[in-house]
């Protein structure tokens, strides 16, 4: 066995291959020490084989212990070794012993989607632990779990499909499965990559898959009949089909009192609209339709622009470039340098640029409103999309002013209404046909 394994793997140096002899009998034995938990290997194999060897007991252990899997096919061996199994051949039979080294033993704290009062635990990079988190929160017998295995995926990323069997829409499930089959990339490292591969149109302006790190959000969506895809090695899971409004909801909306959460939701929508349109509105009001604003306000804006030597759209582009660069820098930099960057950037953006008459002071307010409003959006993917989309509005407003902005808004709404997330409408209100369907069938309501 050992020779075959070595041949299959090209004899790597980090593979331990031994023929062990305890004086009575021999056993062939090989594993990657880096991928295995050495204590488990010791307790599970080495101790029974060496110090407390009893041929009968050892044989019984190999056949009855859940940790040992029969692995008689030589072509499986290298795959098992690579997943962290220990291979051993005893009396002509080959077994694989699962001693995979787990890095994570407890859930991570939430990092991206913080919540004040909700659960604080998030997914980890270990699929089994993630599955445990979901099973605990969504403790329902109707939870369907499917492996999605593809042989040609080199990283052998384990992909798992979860859904509520009673609530899920079968056509959507079929669609998701077929999309998953179509994924032909052989190395999937992160949930975001899978999202990209599963969204058919690559140039879509809005995400149709929600990526989350929160088990409670996952459980809530499962309860709504959504489908969850989990990927081993990723802290994030994929939820689908989703709607536009799901991206603007934070889990706290469900945990806070009614009026408070409504207020926050309204705030978020206003913030989204502001961050989307404010730079464009600034350009159109300054360059096209100053008469729209009341006279005093128009004068204030124009007064603050008195020293600025170029048209408004250049001013807007400068400031937007600065703020985008600043945001990008503070995300990518190490945490210690990051705060310095923010301070320096804040100084430049705040006082200096205005005093140097590069931009007007109103523009600084516009820039900060845009940036802050963008951070209000709870989903980071979605906020990226909004960040980019704002430039479309800017471009239109340069050429056609206020009317252009309104027409673009119209087109955006049409675009959203025309989108479907896995066959379900993306931007439609009051889609409660499903709920009614569930009401008609009381068995559906019980689950979850």
């Amino acid at each position: 066995m050992l020779k075959e394994v070595r041949d299959q793997l090209g004899n790597p140096d980090d593979l331990i291959t031994e023929t062990m002899d305890n004086g009575y009998t021999k056993m062939e034995f090989c594993f990657f020490p880096g991928m295995c938990d050495i204590n488990q290997v010791k307790d599970g194999i080495l101790v029974p084989f060496s110090y407390r060897f009893d041929p009968d007991e050892f044989r019984r252990m190999l056949h009855a212990d859940l940790g040992f899997i029969r692995a008689d096919k030589p072509e499986e061996w290298s795959g098992l070794l690579l997943k962290g199994f220990v291979l051993l051949q005893y009396e002509g039979e080959t077994f694989a012993f699962g001693a995979i080294r787990k890095m994570q033993t407890k859930p991570d704290p939430t990092q991206v989607e913080a919540s004040l009062q909700g659960p604080q635990s998030a997914y980890t990079e270990d699929l089994d632990l993630n599955l445990n988190l979901i099973r605990t929160l969504y403790n329902s017998k109707s939870l369907g779990v499917e492996w999605h295995e593809k042989n040609d995926i080199a990283s052998q990323s384990r992909i798992m499909l979860l859904y509520d069997r009673d609530k899920v829409d079968p056509t959507t499930l079929k669609e998701v499965r077929s999309r998953l089959d179509e994924v032909d990339k052989n190395l999937i490292l992160a949930a975001g990559q899978l999202v990209k591969l599963m969204s058919h149109k690559r140039h879509r302006m809005f995400p149709v898959i929600l990526v989350t790190e929160r088990p409670d959000r996952t459980a809530m969506h499962l309860n709504k009949g959504k489908i969850v895809i989990m990927l081993d090695g990723s802290r994030f899971v994929l939820l689908m089909p989703v709607r536009f409004f799901d991206f603007l909801s934070a889990m706290d909306d469900y945990y806070e009192p009614f009026w408070m959460s409504r207020f926050l939701i309204v705030l978020r929508y206003i913030a989204m609209l502001l961050t989307l349109t404010l730079p464009a509105l600034y350009i159109s009001v300054v360059s096209y339709n100053p008469e729209v604003f009341r006279v005093q306000l128009a004068f204030t804006i124009d007064g603050s622009r008195a020293a600025v030597p170029y048209p408004s759209f250049i001013e807007v582009l400068i400031m937007l470039f600065m703020i985008e660069a600043l945001i990008e820098a503070s995300i990518r930099l190490p945490r210690f340098v990051g705060s310095t960057a923010a301070t320096v950037g804040g100084l430049i953006l705040g006082q200096a640029a205005q005093q140097a008459a590069l931009v007007s002071s109103i523009m600084i307010i516009v820039t900060s409103v845009v940036a802050i409003s963008n951070f209000v959006i709870p989903n980071s993917t979605f906020s990226y999309f909004i960040r980019v989309l704002k430039y479309l509005f800017v471009a239109v407003s340069i050429f056609s002013g206020l009317i252009g902005v309104v027409v673009t808004l119209f087109m955006l709404i049409v675009y959203l209404c025309n989108m479907r997330s896995f066959g379900e409408p993306y931007f439609a209100l009051f889609i409660n046909e499903k709920k009614k369907k569930n009401k008609r069938n009381p068995a559906h309501q019980k689950a979850g």
């Binding site: 096209y288 339709n289 008469e291 729209v292 604003f293 009341r294 006279v295 306000l297 056609s400 002013g401 206020l402 009317i403 252009g404 309104v406 027409v407 673009t408 808004l409 119209f410 087109m411 709404i413 049409v414 959203l416 209404c417 025309n418 989108m419 479907r420 409408p425 931007f427 439609a428 209100l429 009051f430």
Partner: protein, 386 residues
């Protein structure tokens, strides 16, 4: 899904302003315009009730499919053709007059064709989507824009500058015999019910159109507001001087505390959305009628991937709009919109009559189909008959 029906009623009712209905009514304010209003309300409600009851009998079928069922192919295509003309022209008139309004009040320096181009692009894009997307858009935009529009209307009605005496004087003209053209124009407010011709495709079997009393209520309100409020602001005489009467009327309103002082701008921006919505619906209907003339394009209501023919038809409509804009001016546009309003009324009447005929034929054929099983007891025909 009945709410989608009422969205059509609401936005078409609001669009009467852009179809120059108030201007036409006001020009006849001393010669029978007022007495035409109650008549129009009655006639419009009647037509809306009749057509909606008829469409309820054919759930899931648009007008082209109903034609196909009861009429020979050539006649169905001919009637579809009339539908295309009437719907597409409605959209073209609105697009032209709105881009003109924008040119007058918003961007007087830019070429009118630029405004038209922007709006035409948006309309091509929007109208070429599938019917279901169009319906979602209707809902979204109406929810976004109507609260503000109603607020503006309310503000106008409560304004201290509104002269109720002038309104009273004009209202007293109700004794004059009604003028025909005012009557035809005023029924436009109820035309939203007609959009069921296409969007009936999206209804589910067995749907019931409840709350139909909303139609006369909304229509009456819009009609009265759009006719009397401008008179109250401008007086009985001066009100006749304007073509885009409502833009001038909203300019009489001031928001004391807002960023925007003149209500006009808010009004225009909101009506941009509504006009685009109207054009989207009319062009979409025209496009679907066109496609229904060919067997190659079976009706597909949920089709996020836009087929190429949608683009071609909508681009053709936009091209016609440009040609129209080149040859016309405000006055000619006004004449065309009058012709359109009148012919639209007659087509609605004909359509209602046809629908009643179809319902009658449907019943007869059902009875006929139901009759044989009783005598012969053939189970197969029973299944088709029920």
């Amino acid at each position: 899904m009945i709410r989608f029906y009422y969205y059509h009623v609401v936005y078409v009712g609001l669009m009467n302003i852009m179809m120059l209905v108030p201007a036409l009514l006001i020009s006849h304010r001393f010669s029978g315009g007022v007495s035409a209003i109650p008549l129009a309300i009655a006639a419009g409600t009647l037509i809306a009730y009749l057509t909606s009851s008829c469409f309820q009998r054919f759930p899931g079928l648009g007008l082209p499919e109903i034609f196909d069922r009861f009429l020979p192919r050539w006649l169905a295509c001919f009637l579809n053709g009339i539908g295309i003309v009437i719907w597409a022209t409605g959209g073209i008139i609105v697009l032209y007059s709105y881009s003109n309004t924008i040119g007058l009040f918003f961007n007087p320096e830019t070429s009118p064709y630029i405004n038209l181009t922007i709006m035409a692009i948006a309309c091509i894009w929007a109208a070429s989507r599938c019917s279901r997307s169009v319906q979602f858009t209707n809902e979204m935009l109406l929810i976004l824009s109507t609260p503000m529009i109603f607020w503006i209307l309310l503000k106008a009605m409560l304004s201290p500058w509104l002269d109720w005496d002038a309104i009273w004087i004009v209202a007293n003209q109700v004794t004059k015999p009604p003028s025909a053209i005012s009557f035809y124009a005023a029924t436009f407010v109820f035309s939203g019910a007609m959009n069921a011709t296409l969007f009936n495709r999206l209804t589910k079997p067995g749907y019931k159109l409840r709350y139909r009393w909303i139609i006369p209520l909304i229509g009456t309100m819009f009609l009265l507001v759009s006719f009397f409020v401008p008179i109250g602001f401008h007086g009985t005489q001066a009100v006749g001087n304007y073509l885009y009467i409502w833009s001038v009327t909203t300019d009489c309103l001031i928001m004391k505390y807002g960023f925007i002082q003149r209500v006009l701008y808010l009004f225009l921006l909101l009506y941009t959305l509504l006009s685009l919505l109207f054009v989207m619906n009319t062009w979409h209907t025209a496009m679907e009628f066109f496609k229904a003339c060919f067997r190659r394009y079976p009706p597909a209501t949920d089709q996020p991937r836009v087929p190429a023919v949608n683009w071609y038809v909508c681009i053709a409509l936009a091209a016609i709009t440009f040609a129209y804009a080149y040859f016309t001016n405000d006055l000619r546009n006004r004449i065309l919109s009058e012709i359109w309003l009148v012919s639209r009324f007659f087509i609605e009447v004909i359509l209602t009559a046809l629908l009643l005929l179809f319902v009658y034929m449907d019943r007869r054929s059902k009875q006929r189909r139901r009759a044989p099983p009783k005598s012969s007891g053939n189970p197969a025909s029973k299944a088709t008959g029920s």
